[in-house]
Amino acid sequence: MTTDTTVTEAGPAPRARLSPRKRKKISLAIQYAVFLVVIVTLAFVADWAAIQHAFFNLDEARKAFPDILAVGLKNTIIYTLSGYILGFFLGLVVALMRLSDVLPYRAIALAYIEIFRGLPAIVVFMILGFGVPIAFQDYEMPYDPYGTVALALGLVSAAYLAETFRAGIEAVPKGQTEAARSLGMSQGRAMFTVIVPQAIRIVIPPLTNELILLFKDSSLVFVIGFTLSGYELFKFGESLSTRTGNSTPLIVAGLLYLCLTVPLGYLVRKLEAKQKRGRV
């Protein structure tokens, strides 16, 4: 291949006393050449027809629609949002407990954060899905299985959100509390009308990041066990792909996750840029 010869020739040939500029040029040429070699090799070695058949099979993809949207995507969004909303408020409470003057509250909050930040989400799902209902036979989770999912995802995300909120609350200048107090606001009023709203504004980008993470964590809820109408994106894609022996449904499910997370990631970058401008 011609590209190979350029690599070997461009490499060791004129080593003696090159200007930095020229050296940079040669280095760039080598990098491009390597890139080209890899691409060309891939193009020849890979069985594109087989790859297309396995991953981008339009006939298989068509089978996934419309249910992958009406069932899979819908449930992923429901599970994630319900977990996020619960986690948001629980996280706020834990953050306030973490900043409390009462030692037991601080201890509980710290223990909570450490436990649920450290546990794999799937462990939480298993315990809530099977352990808790067996231990509390006389109680029933309201709106099951949605209740169980919301609680599991909420508990997991609350640990992260609590740390985020704490950072936000601590980032609000002290003068804000003092000003609010000097206006005659009570401590609690100052906290909820002055500090927390500003804190949340500060941490909107990391809050959005947590939403992205939760969208992915929601793919683990299949371990709880569902009816077909309760399948979320991953389980839907997985079950269809095991049924047909083709990976395309999983690719479709993956793309739909990206449809949710990429715009959110874009939003985070926008918000961060805006905050940066605001600070200058």
């Binding site: 509250y105 109680y139 029933e140 569902f226 399948y231 022996g245």
Partner: protein, 285 residues
């Protein structure tokens, strides 16, 4: 810290909120829905539905057909039970591990476990089994043209054996000293066969025959090289101690054995007429 002291009085608020959350989690004392409507006095976890736990896909006992409906031999049988109870069947898909250890039933996820499940002494500890409805045979599956004739060749030829997690196949393989590769459900097991990640597979015969019948690439490359008659049988299961439902289940099954609907379903899903019909006398539990 200055901020911390100012937060003192807020301390009560998190406590109240936490109390609220725990109340919400543990709440809903209106538990134990009773299916009063079915007239038989059998308690069901969800009103008006007989909820079945199964592990998809497990053809021909339960799998999704092309339209996405869950169909199969077990589905037919439990439909008969549901009909006798005057309710509809609803199916929950859950890992087989949670079915065979009783967790899914004990957690109140479902009323009946129907998953082509073999009755074993160990499982009887955690489940209330129905009368047996199917004889278990394991199949050793290998690539066509390979000189594998049974499980013994796995060791001598240093091959990879694939089995499904938590099944009697796995118990059998490990008790024979094999270290098989384990798949979470039968669907992943068959995908591993298609991908060439396993050389030999141990799985229940009806499932293997269904693959050979319905999956072209499996039929083209694989064949049954040996059968293992374990002498065990399949049974449906209820939560241990749920005698009302178990009685109804056995009643409906015996009816199905006698009136020919069991045999009819057998022929439909297994592809041939049964040699003999279960008597429904020997109790599984």
């Amino acid at each position: 810290m200055a901020r911390r002291s100012k937060l003192t009085r807020l301390a009560l608020l998190p406590a109240a909120a936490l109390a609220l959350t725990t109340a919400a989690c543990g709440g809903g004392d209106d538990s134990g829905d009773t299916a009063e409507g079915n007239g038989s006095g059998v308690e069901l976890v969800n009103d008006g539905t007989l909820t079945t736990c199964t592990s998809l896909p497990y053809p021909p006992f339960q799998e999704q057909d092309d339209s996405g409906e869950i169909v199969g031999f077990d589905v037919d049988m439990i439909d008969i039970v549901a009909q006798d109870l005057g309710v509809e069947q609803e199916i929950i898909d859950v890992d087989f591990a949670q079915i065979k250890n009783g967790a899914a039933l004990n957690a109140g996820k479902c009323d009946i476990a129907a998953a082509g499940m073999t009755i074993t002494e160990e499982r009887k500890e955690n489940l209330g089994f129905s009368v047996p409805y199917f004889d278990e045979t394991l199949a050793v599956v290998a690539k066509q043209g390979s000189d594998v004739t049974g499980l013994d060749d796995v060791e001598s030829q240093n091959l990879t054996l694939g089995v499904q997690a938590d099944t009697t196949s796995l118990d059998y393989a490990t008790s024979e000293g094999f270290k098989p590769q384990v798949f979470r459900h039968a669907g992943l097991q068959v995908q591993a066969m298609q991908a060439g990640k396993v050389d030999v597979v141990l799985q229940d015969l009806p499932t293997v025959l269904d693959w050979l019948k319905n999956k072209e690439d499996i039929a083209a490359d694989w064949e049954v090289v040996d059968k293992v008659d374990t002498g065990d049988q399949y049974g449906y299961a209820v939560k241990k101690g749920n005698t009302e439902l178990l009685d109804q289940l056995n009643e409906s099954l015996k009816q199905a054995f006698e009136d020919g609907s069991w045999a009819e379903s057998y022929e439909k899903w297994i592809g041939e007429a049964p040699e003999k019909t279960p008597t429904g006398t020997e109790s599984g539990s």
